[in-house]
């Protein structure tokens, strides 16, 4: 693996289907070792983007670069674990044979495929079911088989399309543990979801898209900071008049609630928390607590995508007229 290089780099990809544009001029990059969330409401173009990354469909415009080279997702299938949104298995095949076949299709040689299949089936508690037909398995077990075939070949890049929908809660937790473990071991993870709580807990970077276009991307903390971060909790020892005056400065503070022990301050739009801290310190007061209360990713998402959707609707009305 190439240290801190880019594992996935997308430059201005566009995909049109009959009648509508699924993805428009989208760029993003995923750094090696990161856990990257591709977020957006249903129909935003997440699956289309992922399919273009996998070279299952070819973009009309733009370029996808994987591992810094020109090879496509299919050529690199031995390095990529892909879990599509539409999941399926050969119902009539024996579990073990199927897992081995899917690994071989990715370019793993037969012997290590067999070895790893035993290992993983055992790890996820399916070793008694190896010789059963997929059809005889419960839905939850089939989901495990699906997941095993995604990770069996120890991929360097995991691409998971809506991994947390369709799986039952127990399997979701199990899967999350495996993904987190692999991420800790250095595997790059790119996954799409519309459930922000999941993304918030797992991702270090995100890209939010809506209607096929990027709304925002970057490290999670940065995204949150830039889209919120306007609430600050302040507690000073031995407050003075200057502090009180500062907290009422309308050029910086929109609203301040002093609870005695601490004050919750809402900054004006565009107000910089760092400036507030600096001026607080220069009053000579001892700052005991200064905390930027971050908004949840969910709030950021609703704020941005809600606004985006509203704008798009207005646009539609305009073009219809």
């Amino acid at each position: 693996m190439n240290g801190s290089g880019l594992v996935v780099e997308i430059q201005g990809i566009t995909k049109r289907f009959a009648g509508h544009t699924a993805v428009r001029d989208l760029s993003l990059s995923v750094r090696s070792g990161s856990v990257y969330g591709l977020l957006g409401p249903n129909g935003a173009g997440k699956t289309t983007t992922i399919r273009m990354i996998m070279n299952i469909i070819v973009p009309d415009k733009g370029r996808v670069t994987l591992f810094g080279g020109s090879a496509t997702g299919r050529d690199l299938s031995s390095k990529i674990g892909y879990l599509p949104e539409e999941r399926g298995l050969y119902k009539k095949m024996k579990v073990f044979d199927l897992v081995v076949f899917l690994a071989e299709a990715k370019g793993v040689d037969r012997r290590s495929a067999k070895h790893d299949a035993h290992l993983w089936l055992d790890r996820l508690g399916l070793s008694d079911w190896e010789q059963k037909k997929v059809d005889d398995l419960s839905k939850g077990m089939q989901q495990k088989v699906q997941f095993i075939s995604t990770v069996l070949h120890a991929p360097e890049l995991l691409i998971l399309d809506e991994p947390f929908s369709g799986f039952d809660p127990v399997n979701t937790q199990l899967m999350k543990n495996v993904v987190v473990e692999m991420a800790r071991a250095g595997t790059t993870v790119l996954f799409s979801t519309h459930i922000m709580e999941q993304a918030e807990r797992l991702c270090d970077s995100v890209c939010i898209i809506a209607r096929g276009q990027k709304v925002v991307d970057g490290p999670l903390a940065e995204v949150k900071r830039n889209h919120g971060g306007s609430h600050v909790i302040v507690a000073v020892e031995q407050g003075n008049a200057e502090v009180d005056r500062l907290l009422q400065d309308p050029s910086l503070v929109a609203k301040a609630d002093n609870y005695g022990q601490y004050a919750e301050v809402e900054l004006v739009e565009g107000g910089d928390a760092q400036q507030l801290l600096h001026r607080l310190v220069s009053t000579g007061a001892r700052v005991g607590r200064f905390e930027i209360a971050e908004p949840t990713l969910h709030k950021v998402f609703i704020d941005l995508v809600g606004r985006e959707a509203a704008e798009a609707r207005a646009e539609e009305v305009k073009t219809d007229a």
């Binding site: 996998m54 892909y82 599509p84 399926g88 071989e104």
Partner: protein
């Protein structure tokens, strides 16, 4: 190409392990064996024995002669019942009753008119047996002939000599040399080639279709195309199912050969006496003929498998695919039906045309080859045209397949299909 091999192996092992494959593979040799054993068994177990009465109203010895002739025939016992013309209906009534009781198979009515104007009557329960009736008529005809000649004073010895039958044996000529196969054997062989190729191309083509539809409906296709190129998948699938077909036909071919060649052993095991003289001659299958059959089977199968795969890729469910396959099936069925009428005229213009058109040639050419001699340039032209068509059809089918396997919902119309082919 290692990935194509992986797909071939999966396709082959899954199909061969399927219980229907095992059942059909075993059932066919069993059917062939019973086709050999049953007729002999039936003939032996007296199923063919006939008890016949002859109502003799003649004033001469003719009735006696007829009875003797019938009685002398194989598997027939004949009893003569002498009657006056006036009592005939009464006798007939009681005999009809006996037939009803299955004590008698039937009765023949002969009178003086039989010799005069050749009129006789047979009433029986076994009149639908064409061979029985023909044999009886032939015997009667001979008896009448002898009687008539005898009446005009021809020497009986001369009559006997005049009756020595003529049998014409047919011997085929192939490559300017006499062969030892008869016309019958050759026709039978051509018919078998027709039947086997028609069934094989249809069955295995439809299997490819089923396999593609299964991947679509189970949605595993998305995982597959993320690691395999659609063309690798398609090629692996077609080759895998084709190998299954060859494998199954090899089993059938070998068992048929063994069964016919060692018929005596099979019959011996079952404790059946081997009938003499009625040996079934194995058709003369040369290596060249086998090569022609296999070549055309493979090319024809590839051609139709590609079309069936495209049909499957356009459909979202098995039911839909079965509907959409009709044009492809018709393309195969129509010329095949035409061809069966041409088995006896393998050199007619229509037969030659069918053996050159790529969609019918995979069956027509081997059938012509089996039935008669075909000039080598015609064979080569047929293969050439077939290869061109195969290349073209595969190119189009692969493009439809590539787009279609990820499409769900409404089946595309012709305009959309053309766009798929152009943009893929």
């Amino acid at each position: 190409m290692r990935k194509v091999w992986v797909v071939i192996r999966r396709e082959f092992t899954e199909k061969v392990r399927n219980k229907w494959f095992i059942i059909s593979t075993l059932l066919v040799p069993l059917l062939m064996a019973s086709a050999i054993v049953l007729p002999i068994l039936l003939a032996e177990r007296g199923g063919g024995h006939r008890a016949i009465a002859v109502i003799d109203m003649t004033t001469t010895e003719f009735g006696l002669h007829v009875t003797d002739r019938l009685d002398a025939a194989e598997r027939v016992t004949a009893t003569r019942i002498k009657t006056e013309v006036v009592d005939m209906e009464e006798t007939a009534d009681s005999l009809t009753e006996l037939v009803g009781l299955k004590r008698l198979d039937g009765y023949l009515v002969v009178s003086d008119e039989t010799v005069e104007d050749g009129r006789a009557e047979y009433r029986g329960a076994n009149i639908s047996s064409l061979t029985d009736m023909q044999a009886m008529e032939r015997l009667l005809r001979q008896a009448v002939l002898v009687e008539r000649l005898d009446r005009v004073g021809v020497d009986p010895e001369l009559v006997q000599r005049a009756q020595i039958p003529v049998t014409m044996q047919t011997i085929g000529i192939r490559g300017g040399k006499l062969t030892d196969e008869s016309g019958e054997a050759r026709f039978f062989f051509a018919y078998t080639v027709w039947f086997v190729l028609y069934i094989a191309i249809l069955i295995y083509g439809v299997q490819v279709m089923g396999s593609v539809v299964e991947e679509k409906t189970s949605r595993i296709i998305e995982v597959l195309v993320s690691s395999l190129r659609p063309f690798q998948l398609l090629a692996g699938k077609v080759l895998g199912v084709g190998t299954v077909g060859l494998f199954q036909f090899m089993i059938w071919g070998v068992s048929a050969w063994v069964l016919i060649r060692h018929r005596d052993v099979v019959l011996g095991v079952l404790g059946i006496e081997v009938p003499t003289g009625s040996g079934f001659r194995l058709p003369n299958v040369t290596a060249g003929t086998l090569a022609i059959i296999v070549t055309f089977f493979l090319l024809g199968y590839f051609l139709y498998a590609a079309m069936f795969a495209a049909v499957a890729a356009m459909s979202s469910s098995e039911a839909e695919a079965r509907q959409a396959q009709t044009p492809v099936v018709m393309l195969l069925v129509l010329p095949s039906v035409l061809l069966i009428g041409l088995l006896q005229q393998p050199d007619s213009v229509l037969a030659v045309t069918l053996s050159l058109i790529p969609f019918s040639s995979p069956i027509a050419m081997p059938v012509r080859w089996a039935a008669a001699e075909v000039p080598l340039p015609e064979v080569l032209a047929s293969v050439g045209l077939l290869l061109i068509a195969l290349w073209l059809v595969t190119w189009i089918a692969a493009r439809i397949y590539r787009v279609g396997i990820l499409m769900y919902g409404k089946r595309p119309n012709l305009k959309e299909l053309l766009r798929w082919v152009r943009t893929a």
